[in-house]
């Protein structure tokens, strides 16, 4: 380099800071990204030069040092510009300040009824009930800025009517929310597409009543297991960053409070959850249902919602030795807290996620001795 008297000016300062930044991240990323890259290389089906490059590229960005902080900055910039549509419609903010993953501006005109027909055929006399949990876009409540059109409510109505026409009982929670004058602002998480644990808990109580009234199922301990006084509501403030929130960061989305609802009374379970436990596990509700790791993990982006039942798996079964009747639940992630609470009432509770379950439906029903089959949202083959 040409020898010249070193002069500090705006350009040299900028260059110094820039070089310091890229060198810092060069070394910082070595520790964080190399692990992710290594995993991706191991997971790749065949090792070619192109697959190696792909693994390095995706792993490097995925494992980028302080990635979530950069997402916070990205979201902060979007907030500063008062954007309601972030990225290519990745996240939409409604007028009530809640976040949505994209927007359904299309209209459903057809419905694949294969799954429900297959169940109807295999179930025989076992009653089938479809719980439409509704969605975050609530009729007469959720509004968007001019130009954003969501057909989610209309699409929901289309599905509900279609399923009813097939002779399946439907519980439309949107309608229930309206009848009960529910506080719409508290039904769903702001940063996530799921309902709050409290909403699932209230739905559980409603469902038990419906099972008793309409399906002649009796639950001897019902008064105990639906009484709020018999439950512990543990509040965690600013504790949950949902899937929408993770895409725009905390500066845009904020953090949701999270409530863990646990029975105060004694419970006695055996869990056949081979995804998590090698052998059937005996224990209390908290032992077999609740993931303590998801609650104690200090990482901001930990999915607290899956503190109930750990997340989505193909099949698992829970036996509550104090419960009565057997239920089969076909669910997506909405069902995680609801199924957890329903396990307090039923003797045997089998949970299927059809995005992952590939076995025979008739065999499943034959082996189960079910008193009722409940679909939670998952009404079509994925």
């Amino acid at each position: 380099m040409k020898k010249k008297k070193l002069s500090i000016n705006r350009y040299t300062t900028t260059a110094g800071l820039f070089i310091a930044c890229i060198v810092f991240f060069f070394f910082a990323n070595f520790t964080t990204s190399s692990i992710v890259i290594g995993k991706k290389i191991v997971a790749s089906k065949e090792l070619t030069v192109n697959s190696l490059i792909d693994s390095i590229e995706s792993g490097y960005t995925e494992g980028f040092f302080a990635k979530l902080n950069f997402v916070d900055i990205y979201g902060g910039v979007q907030k500063l510009m008062n954007k309601n549509v972030v990225g290519d419609f990745d996240v939409i903010r409604d007028d009530q300040g809640r976040l949505h993953l994209g927007i359904d501006n299309y209209k459903i005109t057809s419905f694949n009824s294969d799954l429900i027909l297959e169940f109807q055929k295999a179930a025989g006399n076992i009653p089938i009930l479809y719980l439409h949990t509704g969605n975050k876009i609530l009729e007469n409540y959720t509004t968007f800025e001019t130009g954003l059109i969501s057909n989610k409510v209309e699409n929901s109505k289309f599905i509900i009517n279609y399923v009813r026409d097939l002779g399946v009982d439907v519980i439309d929670l949107q309608a229930t929310f309206q009848q009960e004058h529910a506080d719409y602002s508290k039904l769903f998480y702001i940063t996530d597409h799921h309902w709050r644990i409290e909403t699932a808990f209230n739905t559980y109580k409603n469902l038990l009543q419906i099972f008793e009234d309409d399906y002649s199922l009796t639950f001897p301990n019902k008064n105990q297991i639906i009484d709020d006084n018999n439950f512990e509501f543990i509040q965690y403030e600013d504790f949950f960053l949902g899937s929408s929130g993770k895409r725009v960061g905390r500066w845009y989305a904020g953090m949701d409070d999270f409530t863990l609802i646990l029975p105060r009374f004694d419970t006695n379970y055996t869990a056949y959850d081979y995804n998590r436990f090698q052998e059937p596990l005996d224990g209390s509700f908290r032992d077999v249902i609740i993931s303590e790791e998801r609650l104690s993990d200090p990482a901001i982006d930990t999915n607290r919602y899956t503190s109930y039942l750990y997340g989505d798996y193909a099949k698992r079964k829970f036996v509550n030795h104090d419960g009565k009747n057997n239920i089969l639940i076909i669910e997506d992630s909405y069902g995680l807290p609801l199924s957890s609470f329903l396990s307090l009432a039923f003797n045997e509770l089998t949970i299927i996620d059809f995005r992952l379950f590939k076995d025979s439906i008739s065999t499943l029903i034959e082996e189960g001795d079910f008193d009722v089959i409940l679909f939670v949202n998952q009404i079509q083959y994925p």
Binding site: Y11, A15, C21, I56, E57, F70, V71, K83, V85, G147
Partner: protein, 473 residues
């Protein structure tokens, strides 16, 4: 590898800079290292295409030696130049235009199977540089390189490899061995790079989302206002994308001691289409001027017909250079038509000064229409889009979609318009005369740049939309 990627910024660039400056006392070693780094940079996108690049380097190195050796023999030297042109353009034809040619021949009744040949990134840029090397050696505008690695370094140097500017051999011939790195140049190079990165990441990529929505929209749902918004967004996208890449390339070049010529000079303030092309992609227009237009006779020809013919050749080639599609050819011929009118009538000069704003509006309108031809999926889509813009067969004048996109992108749209005119230059000139203000700007300058860099990094890490507009080039 894209400049606007985490791999380039944080994995490739730091070690390349460190090793390069550790070799500061060994110019040959620096050059060999830069060539190796450049080939690695190119191979990252598609490893097999590096063979095409190396083949181009070797062929043009040999042709350069021959043209230098037989310089005194007019016939032989001209024959070598002819071979150079044929070989390089054939390479480009096979990779870029063969399928387009087959497609059109099949439409004319033949039945030739299409090939699976993919387009090597930046082939149009490095082929033109390779041509420039042999021609400049022939014209004695630069010395022949005895060492093939230096020809390789000139053709493959990573800062300008995939998106230009097209660096002429005469510009850098001496710099390959005799460039001088300095802290001042290095620092200004960093700042230039950061300015380019900001242009690309924040303005161009945001405008790309808007433009893509408009151009992908079904003509039955596209309104007049949204069509205009989409066309303006693309006008800004391509400028900030291309000039952003050029800024990054020029900045990177400076960091390694190279001085490349400017590629853009605020093209959207042009007073005429001729003026626009003196400001837009300067390295390409001067390349065509010096290697095609002037050898054909340029404007100094006896007949108007010959002038029109020369312009037709240049603009036809300019169009096809950008991509193997009829809309690129139409785009080139669109400019041919306008430039013929401008040159033959001289109407721009006849407009009184007080109405000079009309010439700006005319030039900008022509450029926007040109970009519609350039951006649309094909020629018929471009015509449909233009019809909607001018209210012909449009379903509606406006819709809520226009309001939504305007509101959501207002900041970037305004920034795009403001920085497309020399506001920064005017501001800097003004502050330089006010000592206190100048000092304040001096303190704020690094802060603003680093904040912008952190924001750009956040966009990169987040994985926002980051299209690469030069795949066709």
């Amino acid at each position: 590898m894209l400049f606007s990627s985490s791999i380039f910024l944080f994995l490739f660039l730091p070690p390349v800079l460190i090793i390069y400056y550790l070799l500061i006392k060994y110019r040959v070693a620096q050059n060999v290292f830069l060539l190796g780094a450049s080939l690695f940079f190119y191979a990252w996108g598609e490893p097999k295409f590096v063979i095409v690049m190396i083949a181009s380097i070797i062929i043009n190195y040999v042709l350069g030696l021959f043209v230098d050796k037989y310089r005194e023999n007019k016939f032989k030297s001209k024959l070598i130049i002819a071979i150079t042109v044929v070989v390089n353009l054939s390479l480009m034809f096979i990779f870029k235009y063969l399928n387009f040619a087959i497609f059109n021949l099949n439409k004319a009744g033949l039945n030739i199977p299409q090939t699976n040949i993919l387009l090597p990134i930046g082939i149009s840029f490095f082929t033109f540089q390779a041509l420039s090397y042999v021609i400049d050696v022939y014209r004695q505008d630069g010395k022949v390189q005895k060492n093939p690695l230096y020809v390789g370094l000139y053709i493959a140097l990573f800062p300008q490899l995939i998106a230009g500017p097209i660096v002429r051999y005469e510009t850098v011939a001496d710099q390959i061995l005799n460039r001088r790195e300095s802290l001042e140049d290095f620092s200004k190079g960093c700042c230039r790079f950061l300015a380019g990165l900001t242009k690309k990441m924040l303005i161009s990529n945001t405008m790309a989302l808007l433009a893509d929505t408009a151009f992908k929209m079904n003509s039955s749902s596209l309104t007049v206002t949204f069509a205009w918004l989409g066309a303006i967004a693309y006008t800004l996208q391509i400028y900030y994308d291309f000039s952003g890449y050029s800024d990054m390339a020029i900045g990177l070049g400076q960091m390694f001691g190279f001085k490349f010529l400017e590629n853009f000079n605020y093209p959207y303030i042009a007073k005429s289409v001729s003026d626009f092309w003196r400001r837009w992609h300067i390295s390409l227009s001067t390349w065509f001027r010096d290697y095609v237009y002037f050898p054909l006779g340029g404007s100094r020809v006896k007949s108007k017909f010959r002038l029109i013919f020369n312009l037709f050749i240049v603009w036809g080639l300019t169009g096809i250079w950008h991509g193997a599609s009829w809309n690129f050819i139409a785009w080139g011929l669109f400019y041919f038509a306008i430039l013929v009118i401008e040159k033959l009538t001289g109407f721009i000069d006849k407009i009184p000064k007080m109405f000079s704003f009309l010439t700006h509006i005319y030039a900008l309108l022509a450029v926007i229409i040109g970009w519609v031809l350039f951006r649309a999926a094909n020629l018929s889509a471009a015509i449909d889009y233009l019809k909607t813009m001018f209210g012909i067969d449009a379903t509606a004048f406006t819709s809520d979609t226009t309001i939504l996109y305007l509101k959501e992108n207002m900041f970037y749209l305004l920034s795009g318009i403001i920085f497309a005119i020399p506001t920064t230059r005017i501001f800097m000139k003004y502050t330089s005369k006010k000592p206190i203000l100048n000092k304040t700007v001096g303190y704020l300058y690094p802060v603003v740049y680093i904040i912008l860099f952190i924001i750009c990094t956040s966009y990169i890490v987040k994985g926002t939309y980051n299209p690469f507009i030069y795949f066709n080039f």
